[in-house]
Subunit: 299 residues, 2 copies
């Protein structure tokens, strides 16, 4: 089954302690879609300006991403620039230029509306809701978010949470949303806001799934070299949704393995600037690293 | 087989955002010995002053800890006081009064010298070396440490590392020792200093074992309530060594399971002030939580 993915499509200028690269292909929908494409056909919803390089469209196409829902409009593509600290965990945003995102309204092509799996990747919750409004009985809907929306669009986010099956957010966002330092207690509070499945991302420390009174604690794949963690969280959730959409059996029986596959794609993402390393992953490499993940975590 | 454990025996005054407790039984040897005692007979090496409450000796005895190597001398017991921040991870030392530790020289009773398993829990590396000098062909020696010794006793620590099988330290200590942010690369550098087995403790994020070119990544047991994390790292390594000393088979074949048992004992440790929760653990509870650990980490 195909996965519908809405999120940001951006140009990212990224600076790490060792390198800097301007205007790379980025955005939550880009990372999530490429990651999901290893498992399933992806239908992308987003917007870019007419400055968007054709090579980037080419990359989407290489991954067989359906671009019918990608609007190309007059104006500048969303541009984000950020800088990482020495530990590669903390980063600060240097500039955010919304460009064509400022007036973006997602319109779903008819062919998109029956997608069973919907990933509302990080984007304003109002837009996530607008996409959801256009869907016809999706089977499994997951939303991701970021701290910005907790600060400026909390009412929309809370409205959204009542309508999704799963919610993915990072550690500090979970703490901010629930005013709870302990992540297990934070997850419980998030369940009360709506989602049956709560996944808290902890970056290099992995992720926690809370579902139906049970926990799954998944470490991150241990990496010797982190080149650029931008998009790792988006790749994680994209990989997870891609895996889920094609696995046979119930969500519950596949979710742990989906999270591992997402973690492995996130690890590849960190090994290159922007989408560079992720886009080069082969099925063989992916399977090899999933096996390696199992061997470093198995008792 | 018995485990010989040397380390600090202390009175701890601990303050958390919610509570404070003065002069609790503490010290690396106390936590490690109680944790190890769930699996194996423990021979403790340490020193306390004549102000040391008899009730604390009683607690050691309840856990069948051999106290022949515990010196009781005239003077004050080592006293540490510290305060935790709201997140329960960061803490700062408020006071350290060495007391009888200032002039402590560990003397090993003859009955101790043939112990096969030796845990050099956190204490000055010079004292760890002095204990090691008195041992007769131990089978497996593991040392723990703390940032203080990296700062003031690095030459002794480096001498020690050439003589131990395993070395346990926490994330920031590994980074400080190797000048390497990435923990996998840090572990590789630590192997070059001597130890075949390197275990990096990451607190609430678990631990990483590096041995013979392979990694084992173990999350911490997820806790809903952390009352006091003091001694969790000592309980971890004590539990690990206790488990190893009684398991049949090779170190390599038991180490992963030993780490899980250590993690579970560390989790109990966090659930009460000082040794309160740890000392109440039953074998049944321990086994139950090990099974629960497996169920939250199993794919």
């Amino acid at each position: 089954m195909s996965v519908l993915i809405v999120g940001s499509t951006a140009l990212d200028s990224i600076k790490t302690p060792r390198q800097q690269h301007p205007r790379l292909l980025g955005g939550s929908a880009s990372y999530a879609s490429v990651a999901a494409s290893f498992f399933a056909p992806v239908k992308m919803v987003g917007v870019v300006g007419n400055d968007f390089p054709a090579a980037h469209l080419q990359l989407y196409k290489k991954h067989k991403i359906d671009l019918e829902g990608l609007q190309i409009v007059s104006g500048k593509t969303f541009h984000w620039s950020g800088e990482y600290e020495l530990n590669m965990n903390n980063r600060r945003t240097l500039a955010t230029e919304l460009g064509v995102f400022e007036s973006f309204t997602p319109h779903l092509p008819v062919s998109y509306q029956k997608s069973a799996f919907v990933l509302l990747a990080n984007i304003a919750p109002g837009l996530q809701l607008h996409v959801l409004d256009q869907m016809r009985k999706p089977k499994f809907v997951v939303a991701d978010t970021m701290d910005l929306w907790l600060n400026i669009a909390l009412p929309d986010l809370l409205k959204l949470l009542k309508r999704v099956d799963g919610f993915v957010l990072n550690e500090s966002e979970a703490q901010q949303l629930t005013q709870e330092q302990n992540l297990i207690r934070a997850a419980k509070k998030i369940h009360q806001l709506g989602p049956k499945y709560v996944i808290i991302k902890k970056g290099e420390h992995g992720a926690i799934l809370s579902a139906k009174g049970k926990l799954f604690v998944a470490p991150a794949f241990p990496l010797e070299k982190v080149v650029d963690p931008t998009g790792a969280g988006d790749s994680f959730v994209g990989g997870m949704m891609g895996y889920l959409s094609t696995a046979s059996g119930s969500i519950d029986s596949n979710l742990r393995r989906a999270i591992i596959n997402g973690s492995v794609l996130a690890s590849y993402c960190c090994e290159g600037f922007g989408l560079k390393a992720l886009t080069r992953v082969t099925s063989a490499a992916l399977n090899r690293r999933v096996k390696e993940y199992e061997s470093v975590t198995r008792l």
